[in-house]
């Protein structure tokens, strides 16, 4: 079941932009769940909360810049108003410009955030709970740390 903690750092608008960005770079189709049905945005927010202030500010500014950048490139709408395919094309063009490093960094974080969702992880065949269960037993039986 998806957890729904509050946002520690991101404003709802920023979280929405991130979700749109995530949707473009992940491009989920069934059986992969939609970004909105995962905890990706919340996980990104948690990571931001632990990041240094300068990174936090830069990533939040980058989200806002990415939201507006399509307009500067001649698209008729902001990032969130474009469809997924248009967003990806726009981001590809943006990545070749001065926001390139920001796009790359956010993309890695988006992939990490989405594919770390428990349901997505299980879908791909990885069961962290089984790893932890075996570890718990070993630590107890062998008096490990």
């Amino acid at each position: 079941m998806r957890r729904t903690p509050g946002l520690a750092v991101l404003r709802p608008r920023e979280a929405s932009i991130f979700a749109a960005f995530c949707d473009a770079v992940v491009a989920p189709v069934p059986p992969l769940p939609a970004v909105r049905d995962t905890d990706a945005a919340f996980a990104f927010d948690t990571g931001l909360a632990a990041a240094p202030a300068a990174n936090r500010a830069a990533l939040r500014a980058a989200l806002l810049a990415l939201e507006l950048a399509p307009l500067a490139l001649g698209y008729s709408a902001r990032l969130r108003r474009l469809d997924s395919a248009q967003r990806l094309t726009a981001l590809d063009r943006i990545e070749r410009g001065p926001l390139g490093d920001a796009v790359k960094g956010l993309r890695a974080l988006a992939h990490l955030s989405y594919y770390g969702d428990p349901a997505v992880t299980r879908l791909l065949g990885y069961d962290p709970d089984a790893v932890v269960a075996r570890a718990t037993e070993l630590r107890y039986l062998e008096h490990r740390w």
Binding site: A51, L91, L109, H111, A135, T136, L138, E142
Partner: protein, 530 residues
Amino acid sequence: MTRRLRDTGATTYEDGTGTFHPDERRLVAGRTLAGETIITVDACVIGSGAGGAPVAKELAEGGMRVAILEEGDWHEASTFTARPRDMTPRLYRDSAQVMTIGTPPIPLPLGKAVGGTTLINSGTCFRTPPHILRQWREDHGLTDLTTATMDPFFRRVEREVNVSQVPEHLAGASARLVLEGAKKLGLSGGHLFRNAKGCVGSGVCAFGCPTGAKQHTGITYVPRAWAAGATTYTGVQAQRIGHQGGRVTEVVAKTAAGGTLRVRCRHAIIAAGTLLTPALLEASGLGHASGQLGRNLSIHPASAARAVFDEDLDPWSGVPQSAYIDALQNEGIMFEGISGPPDQTAASTPRAGAEHRELMLKARRTASFGVMVHDTGRGTVKRQLGQTVIRYDLHPDDAARFQKGMATLAEVFFAAGAREVIVPLAGVPTLRNGDVTPLTGRPIQPKHVAAMAFHPLGTARAGADPTTSVVDPDLRVHGIEGIHVSDGSVVPSSLGVNPQITIMALATRLAYSLLNKPAPDHEPVPTAIA
């Protein structure tokens, strides 16, 4: 004299019994220290990782009163979730968002916890290569650092952290396929040596080993230090080293409660790490005479190729970094394994959109392996406006090494039966049908390389000449008594291999020097070692 042997094979690697637990965990949390706290010890060690923990333990066992200051927290293995995304903000400095500024920007993940980066590294263990020691003797005047003089310290460290070889059945499918492919191409390699005890191949070494198998310094050296009377203060950040009349007086630290911890000491050992030690020295007005403080940064840039096979591999099972190919080591190219759960893989897989998605849907059939470059390039670390700024540009020669390394790795994967190979070099399409010419047929520039780095070294380098080094051959900061550095910053050159054993051995040697003890001559000889 008949020397005892220490077996470094599968039994040693897999036996998880016999873990040492002290009677008392001598831990004081900085969040409980408001106001001003003053303590007096013989030695204050700043940092509990590969550089700090061994020296703290040896000094404590040698009879000194020791305080260990650690900026991070103590983490119980019972709290490790085997989920990279969720563990990263907890165990890594700045949520693993430490980055170099340069072409290209390179993430430099560091640990921030009791155990330092040894808590989140891959656990690979190599001794300092003999030709590197020779280079240090010739270029830096470190004439006492020979294979023979370092051997006792290597043996002691390797015993303390149980360095042993990964057995084949725990090595994971990526390693199996890569070694098969390497053998077909006549490339030398094998299974790595790691600091592990009772490993079952959980596959999350870099995110907190949930079985307690990875023998990081937090569960090896630190408990031994506690048993000998040392105390670890967590959530404490050293701000400056006080000195007067050419001698150390105290270490001043800020606590998580906003208080001040003053540690009056005869010896201050700085083990804050390559990226943070220069700032601490600078803030203390130390180490700047040569102009080398914060310079000479090497990082071993590294990246991974991915290869899709027809069979299910479950790449997150087994030891993530279990094997190596060293056939191109003389060219500054080392191949080492890297794999992990889907979220970790997704973050470092090139491509976006549908192309990335399709690769991730094949994650279960995807192997990965890494290329690590013995870098030519050098960078700097400086404190600017309250931030640590790391400048590093990938040298064109190192970009060329990445190109050759990735091409070789692709050939290895194809020899092992891969259908397609994806490399982290911009503009290079997915390789198919054994054809690597899309990779080799064009020049690769530094800006085309997507890399990470895990071994920052050199920013307070050791040397005999005080005009070209920050610390002397005994790791004492030039020009001051009682202040030593014991971390990767003293390593005067890029190593070409994983550095933790080098750092731990130098730390152990430092402690023996401070105790005026001869090198240990009773340590068992490993039956095999890297």
